[in-house]
């Protein structure tokens, strides 16, 4: 785009790295900040700078953290015998918000995917194996996504846990609550049918 200001053009271009932001919205955001939100803009710049510089990964669970060990891992009130493995930090947040889970996490930052160049090393599995060997974890909950790659990852992790003599559980998947069978896709329905459970009395 043609712009009278080089700095403005640079800002618009930089904003486009945000998800869902194309040229048009980047331009709108830039003008908004300059016209009406200088204070907010300074705050955004400072927060962005600090987060990009200081947020790393927890050395225990690999989630985002500016401390070497994140608050969840450091908390004395969490159950250290249960470890829930998720693909991403956003999955961790989703489980924290939706359930009363009180155990700990391990974040893979991906899933096994040979075609994406993601193998055991990239997912921190040597670190996880070492942790399982420490003997504190008694149950590992596999909360990877119900996709082909998520399932393959769960299978791999299951073997790792069993080798360490640890109980393994997997999140159930099936028909969504409030859903109707005729509208559920075939794969999901086949899976739900295959993993049906005995009705409790």
């Amino acid at each position: 785009m043609s712009s009278s200001s080089k700095l403005l053009a640079e800002l618009i271009d930089a904003l486009r790295c945000l998800p869902g932001v194309g040229g048009k919205s980047a331009q709108r955001m830039a003008f908004h900040l300059l016209e009406r939100e200088r204070q907010g803009g300074f705050r955004l710049a400072a927060a962005l700078e600090a987060a990009m510089r200081d947020v790393g990964h927890c050395s225990r669970c690999r989630t985002f953290s500016e401390e070497p060990v994140c608050p969840v891992c450091a908390s004395a009130s969490r159950d250290k015998h249960v470890l829930c493995v998720v693909e991403s930090p956003s999955d961790l947040v989703a489980i924290e918000q939706a359930t009363g889970y009180r155990g700990l996490y391990f974040v893979l930052l991906g899933r096994l995917s040979p075609l994406d160049g993601l193998g055991p090393e990239e997912l921190g599995l040597p670190m996880l194996a070492q942790r399982l060997g420490e003997g504190e974890v008694e149950e590992m909950i596999l909360a990877t996504n119900p996709t082909v790659e998520g399932e393959a990852t769960a299978h791999y992790l299951g073997q790792l846990a069993r080798a360490a003599g640890i109980r393994v559980t997997r999140l159930a998947h099936g028909v969504p609550l409030g859903g109707e069978l005729e509208f559920v896709d075939r794969g999901t329905l086949a899976h739900a049918f295959g993993s049906r459970q005995v009705l409790g009395s």
């Binding site: 998800p19 869902g20 096994l112 995917s113 040979p114 075609l115 994406d116 160049g117 993601l118 193998g119 055991p120 996709t147 082909v148 790659e149 399932e151 393959a152 299978h155 791999y156 073997q159 896709d185 075939r186 794969g187 999901t188 086949a190 899976h191 295959g194």
Partner: protein
Amino acid sequence: MRIDQQPTFVMHGRPYRETSLLLECLTRDHGRIGVVARGVRRERAKLQRSQLEPFQPIALDFLLRGELATLRAAEPIGLPMRLVGDALMSGLYLNELVVRLTARHDPQPAVFDAYGSTLRRLADGEPVGWTLRRFERDLLDALGYALALEFEGDSGEPLVSGGSYRYEPELGAVPARPNEPHTVQGRDLLDLAADRCPDAAGLAALRRLMRQVITFHLGGGELRAWTVLGQGGVRR
């Protein structure tokens, strides 16, 4: 070019732009193609992502223009195949192998057929190692890299069942020197040619052989799935 009802397997999907997926597909008549599935990563997408997962036989409608195709519709054909455990891991290997060895826009109906029947075997719980060896043999064959499994590479003499051979990717089987490591028995090569499952030692020798031949055709370099399968304890 508008293509309708094309039998297809999705081999891999990765996020593309904001709400789309870029699918690496194996089609029956157009070979391997990249297909953009627009908007399927939206929460209320019309087409569900689960329908575009690997290992499901689907019929695709798409628009082929330039390098990438654009998805118009997808529907399942037949029953979904469910790969679990070692079979699932093997499926990932299959996909990496096909993507790395085939070129885009190169129609290979024989590869498509071999791929489909291999998935079926994996889903039906047939032994993983033998199933993979058969696929590797058929894939190499279809791509013009057929293994020489019945005659010696240098002399053209028929292989002897009890003979010990070294397999050289460019030449074929040549008689092994005494005490040479990593040899393969004539009977194992003849079994593979005749589509008979060899014994465990034979399968292990054929696995080593295939890995060596595939590495050669990849121009060196490893497949990621080899590490994943190896460390995952898959009985491959």
